[in-house]
Symmetry: none
DNA sequence: GCGTGTCTGTCACCCGTTTGTCACCCGCCC
DNA sequence: GGGCGGGTGACAAACGGGTGACAGACACGC
């Protein structure tokens, strides 16, 4: 599942991101409110974690804006003892809250619960057509073939493509999704990753039938 | 769509940003010229709103620099009564202008118009008459014929002509829209591009039936 | 701690496609 | 005839995707 983590505290943000990634989630990070909204619009996450105190726009404003456009689950991060903030957040449509400090274990439990409540159990294999991903096993199965083991990056790339199965995904977006940041110039990384993935999943890597190069990026052919 | 808003007046900047976000756009904000260029490079916005009076670099300079690198639509924000500034801005390649003060409604209408003109209001296939463009696949289909693959430039040219289907578009405008920079003398580029496009889409390239030469430029015959 | 194997980032290179540029053609008009 | 502007063919440079090689980073078992 794709999770948007918005917190202006870089250390905490990285800790959360790391914890979620370890659990097999894709993470999009934002350091302030506007960035959170930007990524929300661009990435379409399945879950949003929002700190209340952020520069630019507060978590409240971000939550409100998101709620005006989507019913994606939103979890607020609050400092203990600011109950009035909490009430306000829930009133704005937030689904859950977590008081700092919290343990990674607590975080994961709450995230899992929230995703389950939203009907997106995170361990369910992603699938489209003849392609199915097993996020826990880090494997992909195509048609009747044996499941193939994937590395972390390969898994993320496939996950992104699978989420847009049949449609081209542009390289910039893939770079952001798979590596997190990296502005422009890193096409080479993507080339290599695609190459390595093709070696694993294509019957004939020289003539890709599944992971095709499209005019505007790469796409998955699922039939 | 992602919009870069550059204005040194923080209040106005926030108002514009808010208005655009309400309309579903992603907004990147800049308070001066250098920041605008920095964000332009990093974010790759689909539209740029530029105030003329900004510290660091003026809107003129920013516009010129952007035009040297991109054909992204640029809208200038001017104070009423400074027509000479306006003329200068349009000469530098700006696509539209807005005189302050303006209402949010006006702003949105202009932004929408500009994005439509630039052919990016959606990735849905553009069509007019028997001609339809698939922006994702980079193909064009004319009548019942097989879709034809287009290069990046051919696609842009066709997109511009299709946006004005049935009417002639003058060469200056096409040069700016397709190549972004290149003020005057580069007719030859356009000639070649038209030639190559005709080879691909015309049944008889020597007697063009679709992409016709008109008195004032080129036009697409769509019926 | 240490070796081992895997994963990832980076480099150099190949090759087909795309693009920019030049020379030249033709028809038209003064 | 000569200038002008559009159309055409040819060619070289630039670009971009694909590939193999390699070294450092990393995880893991001992």
């Amino acid at each position: 599942m794709k999770v948007l983590v918005a917190d202006d505290d870089a250390d905490l943000r990285e800790l959360i991101a790391f914890t979620l990634m370890q659990a097999g989630h894709l993470v999009v990070k934002a350091g302030d409110g506007p960035a959170a909204l930007r990524h929300f619009g661009a990435e379409g996450p399945d879950l949003v974690l929002l700190d209340i105190n952020m520069p630019g726009l507060s978590g409240f404003q971000v939550c409100e804006t998101i709620r005006a456009r989507s019913r994606v689950p939103v979890m607020m991060l609050t400092v203990r003892g600011e109950e009035e903030d909490l009430v306000r957040a829930l009133g704005l449509g937030a689904d859950d809250y977590l008081t700092k400090p919290f343990s990674p274990r607590t975080l994961l439990a709450r995230v899992k619960a929230l995703l389950r409540r939203a009907g997106m159990e995170s361990t369910a294999p992603l699938a489209a057509g003849r392609i199915s991903l097993d996020l826990e096993e880090h494997t992909v199965r195509i048609g009747a073939a044996e499941p193939v083991r994937l590395t972390k990056l390969e898994l993320r790339l496939l996950q992104m493509l699978l989420a847009n199965a049949g449609h081209a995904v542009n390289p910039e977006r893939l770079l952001i999704q798979v590596w997190g940041h990296r502005s422009g110039g890193d096409r080479q990384l993507l080339k290599q990753l695609v190459h390595r993935l093709r070696q694993k999943i294509e019957a004939d890597p020289a003539a890709p039938a599944v992971l095709r190069t499209a005019a505007a990026g790469y796409k998955l052919v699922v039939d």
